[in-house]
Amino acid sequence: MTDLETRLRATYTAVAEQTSVAPWSELPDTDVVELRPAAVSTRHARVGWWAAAAAFLLLAGAVGVARLRSDPVTAPAGTDRPFAIPMVLPTGFGLVDWSTDETLLPGFGDVPTDAAVASLDYLGPGGEIHVRSTEAFGDPITTPRSDTLSTGLLVHTATDGTTTTLAWVADSGAAVSLSAVGVELDELLTMAEAVWYATPKRFAAATATGGFGSQTFERWQPPGDRFDGSELRLEGSLQDTYSHLSLGFFCCHGFTPGVSSGCFFQTSSDGEGHVLLFGPPSTTTFVVSLPDGSVRRQPAGSPPWFSANTFAMIEVDDPGPDFDAKDIPVSCEVTR
């Protein structure tokens, strides 16, 4: 045994002899004292209040300056769906070029150097259309405008010679520019409403073979009942001249989207009582009068990649052999 070990043993023995062990209940009562912060002098308290007030004023000032420096129409920077792909086109237009390395965004100021700007170029009868999009950033060139978008905030409309430009900040956070020659403003507004907001990965997939070749790009489960086929799909191709990109549902139904002012419904053709409800983007609830006389209030929702419509799926019990959507009047409750 070494000298160190001898000294350690002696220490442990001494500690053991001075330590008593007993059950908790047998321990002598001890006073419980409330913990209070140490008393501070009145002078110190005053300094604390002044410091808090100064910090509050400093914070309020910083927020105010930030709001003044940035345009209020600018959406929060950063989105995982920064690229805009039109789902409807004016008749006769076709995609001819695409990239993700543009540097300009008409209707906005200088694009940050590290921003990836997607571009889609279309040619048509006597005209051309250019779509540019990227993550929103705080420098739109705002102009007076009378038109509005229901799926984003229009920040710029202008006609320079023969070129008409629309620019908007989408609800998704994307900054989008649409400029065209030989296309009516109404057609551009229709295009601007029905846009697929894609991730960079989806944009690459959609343009991988020049937009040729149909694919299913997105899938989403609308609010409501779940059943076989109760998903909404974004499918088609950027080069399809007939359906282009469309929204598919059930086994094999589909429609080309666009902002609508009314509520609509579509039943499955298999007699299962499956119903797709869709309405304008402001819809919060679909109110459905069911065949049995009851009323169902079904909350509505939009997929993260498409905000021009709201949707829900319901399954009607015992629909009967002649069930049709016209048997279930639907109305939409909208936000004011």
């Binding site: 006769g92 076709g94 048509g124 009868p125 073979t209 040729f212 080069q239 399809d240 001249t241």
Partner: protein, 163 residues
């Protein structure tokens, strides 16, 4: 000694067979043949670098491609307006994409592939109501599709070559 003689004789034979196989595989399976000549007199409706597009009214109105005296099978050209059919034929050192499009009006095209974006294409009028587009593909070029455009510049069809 006898084994060595057989070995010496076998080596050139194996080399000759390998050479013949290599030569015959140069173009892979060919869509061109000297045995598929149509009857009647054809009309050359389009020409390119080493190929011609010919139409044969007497053979039930069919078309074919000809390279160095060899031709493809003569394909029907009876398609209603707005419908189309396409194929990629190969042989004689070429891969050629062909699109037939039913149209009463003159049309042009835009070619899309792994190396081309909206490259202008001539629309050959094979017969009244039938236009054809022919693209001789470069080595390694993957065809994506053809846009068909009318005289006003409006897109009237887009045919995908992507499966």
């Amino acid at each position: 000694m006898r084994r060595r003689v057989w070995a010496i004789m076998a080596l050139p034979s194996i080399a000759l067979i390998a050479l013949l196989v290599a030569i015959s595989d140069t173009d892979g399976p060919s869509d061109f043949s000297t045995s598929t000549q149509p009857s009647g007199v054809g009309v050359v409706v389009g020409t390119g670098d080493g190929w011609t597009l010919e139409f044969y009214e007497s053979s039930d109105g069919c078309y074919l491609l000809r390279i160095d005296g060899e031709t493809t099978y003569c394909q029907s050209t009876h398609y209603p307006p707005g419908s189309s059919t396409w194929k990629v034929v190969q042989g004689r050192g070429h891969r050629i994409a062909v699109l037939l499009y039913g149209s009463e009006e003159p049309v042009t095209g835009r070619w899309f592939s792994s190396i081309s974006r909206a490259e202008p294409l001539t629309g050959y009028q094979v017969r009244p109501g039938m236009a054809a587009f022919v693209v001789d593909l470069d080595d390694g070029e993957n065809p994506w599709g053809i846009q068909v455009v009318d005289e006003t510049g409006a897109l009237v069809a887009a045919t995908s070559f992507v499966s």
